[in-house]
Amino acid sequence: MDLSVKLGPLALKNPVIAASGTFGFGLDFAELFSPSLLGGIVLKSLTREPRIGNPAPRIAETPSGLLNSIGLENPGLDRFVSDVLPSLSMLDTRIFASIAGGKPGEFVHLASALSEHRRIDALELNVSCPNQAEGGMAFGTSPKAVESLVTQVRKATKLPLAVKLTPNVTDIAEVARAAEAGGADIISLVNTFLGLMVDWRKRTPQIAGLRGRGGVSGPAIKPMALRMVRDVFKAVRLPLIGMGGISCASDALEFIVAGASAVQVGTANLTNPMACAELPAEMARLLESECISSLSSLVGTLAD
């Protein structure tokens, strides 16, 4: 079974990509399985300067989901390049650097600097983090801001450019069209849904975060994510990477049928560190059992 996929200019050996923030910098699960089994890895979001992240507690469980406000804890560009990047040279998988920032100039700087390194195969613009006072989702909820930002980053890099959308908008297709107009190669969707968990006895939110808010991920968000992938598939010509609650092969194939050319697995990595590793072979098995000879023939085939 040929599972290889093309995401615009980027070829992947299979459609399974580890999502940003759930796979560290690529090697944290290497004791359990080779990351080279995967089509790609999106590294934890980088900012220009190091960030210590948001106060504790940062996570709370929700029904079939996870509420988080990590706050982009990361070592910053320089330490990533000196300490982390060399360790990724041995991996035979596509490496996406996820970049985030408070101002457009920070994205541009990161895109330009990371484009110097051949080990980085693609960029994913994180314009959808709900846990930042400045930037993050504030960009991703405005089509104008997205188009302007993507246009600026596009000028700074020749790398394949994915834009990761927030679901916290009324019309996600409009934001996707803005990313396409700005020159994106790929649309990744969706990031987490803004949420709140309450401890009613203490009258406090369950996590610290920004006014106790965080992003909800996990199986609970899958139906909403699928709806949005379908809407965006109808609205743009760009290839999509679908995500939101994928934890098994049939989940992944649902996103493919809805319109995604590849998928990302996020929260499932945290509950089952083998979640990604098992997925390509399991997807192939399911396709064979339905006598489907190629994955690409399935993309977007949902009957409306």
Binding site: T22, G24, D28, P55, A56, R58, S64, I70, T271, P273
Partner: protein, 267 residues
């Protein structure tokens, strides 16, 4: 590190909503260090979604890990229903454990309530290695009342000196484990190492006592909500002191055992 499906050997109620679970894990005695933990999935579905972290309470023989847990929510309630022969998915042993300093001449274990969970394995190991003896170590266990005292006989059977304290005086000395720890620190001969696990209030009180004994070292096992247990998600942030300001350590990978001196105020 291991990810496996393991068989439950026993799962007994110890009273006070506390249970003890024995899990068959061939080779665990050689693989695990005191203070390390296991991530256990309760149930099979997606709710509860996350694994729960449990310190290894003790090792029986070579191949059985025992955890002591309080039924505190949906996950532990499901776990408490499991019986011998049932299978559970488990990840571990994980994290950095206790490291008795070579310089210490006296060792003080301070456990509050269910906080004795990792300390019994430490005692078991320290006694086994000949570091903890009746004259070089003491275990101090405290709780609000006698029902909250756990594993006291287990510590006694290791031939350690054991003291108990309850706030209502229903067992042992009336007062707190930290009161007794303060007295032990004052009378201990030579450099002292303290090992603690318990509620936040107990750790804060212990930190205050330790400020009067600057030569003593103290290692604390912290409890935090965790998602992955492997340092990936950064969800289990513990505020720590760092040159030039504060930072967050990951309880799962940098801990769960930390030197008291690097924990920031208020933890």
């Amino acid at each position: 590190m291991l990810l496996r499906t393991a068989t439950i050997e026993w799962n007994d109620s110890m009273g006070d909503a506390v249970c003890e679970m024995g899990i068959s894990l061939p080779g665990i005695a050689a693989a695990a260090r005191p203070g390390q933990f296991l991530m256990i999935k309760s149930g099979r579905g997606t709710d509860p979604l996350l694994r729960r972290p449990f310190s290894i309470h003790r090792i029986e023989g070579e191949d059985t890990a025992v955890i002591l847990y309080r039924i505190a929510g949906a996950g532990t309630a499901i776990m408490s229903q499991a019986g011998p022969g049932d299978r559970i998915s488990l990840l571990g042993p994980l994290g950095k454990g206790f490291e008795p300093p070579a310089s210490a001449r006296f060792h003080v274990i301070v456990g509050g309530g269910i906080g004795v969970a990792p300390l019994l394995f430490l005692a078991q190991s320290g006694v086994g290695e000949g570091i903890f003896t009746e004259t070089t170590s003491i275990a101090i266990i405290g709780a609000k009342s006698s029902a909250g005292l756990h594993a006291v006989e287990r510590f006694s059977s290791l031939h350690m000196k054991v003291l108990t304290a309850t706030e209502d005086g229903s067992a042992g000395t009336r007062g707190t484990a930290v009161d007794l720890a303060g007295r032990a620190l004052s009378s201990a001969p030579g450099p002292v190492a303290v090992y603690a696990c318990g509620p936040r209030g107990m750790i804060t009180a212990l930190a205050a006592v330790l400020r009067m004994h600057p030569a003593a070292t103290c290692q604390v096992s912290v409890e935090e909500r965790m998602a992955c247990g492997m340092g990936v998600c950064r969800g289990c942030a513990v505020p720590v002191r760092k040159a030039g300001g504060k930072a967050y350590a990951a309880a799962c990978r940098d801990g769960p055992v930390f030197d008291m001196n690097i924990l920031a105020e208020g933890t």
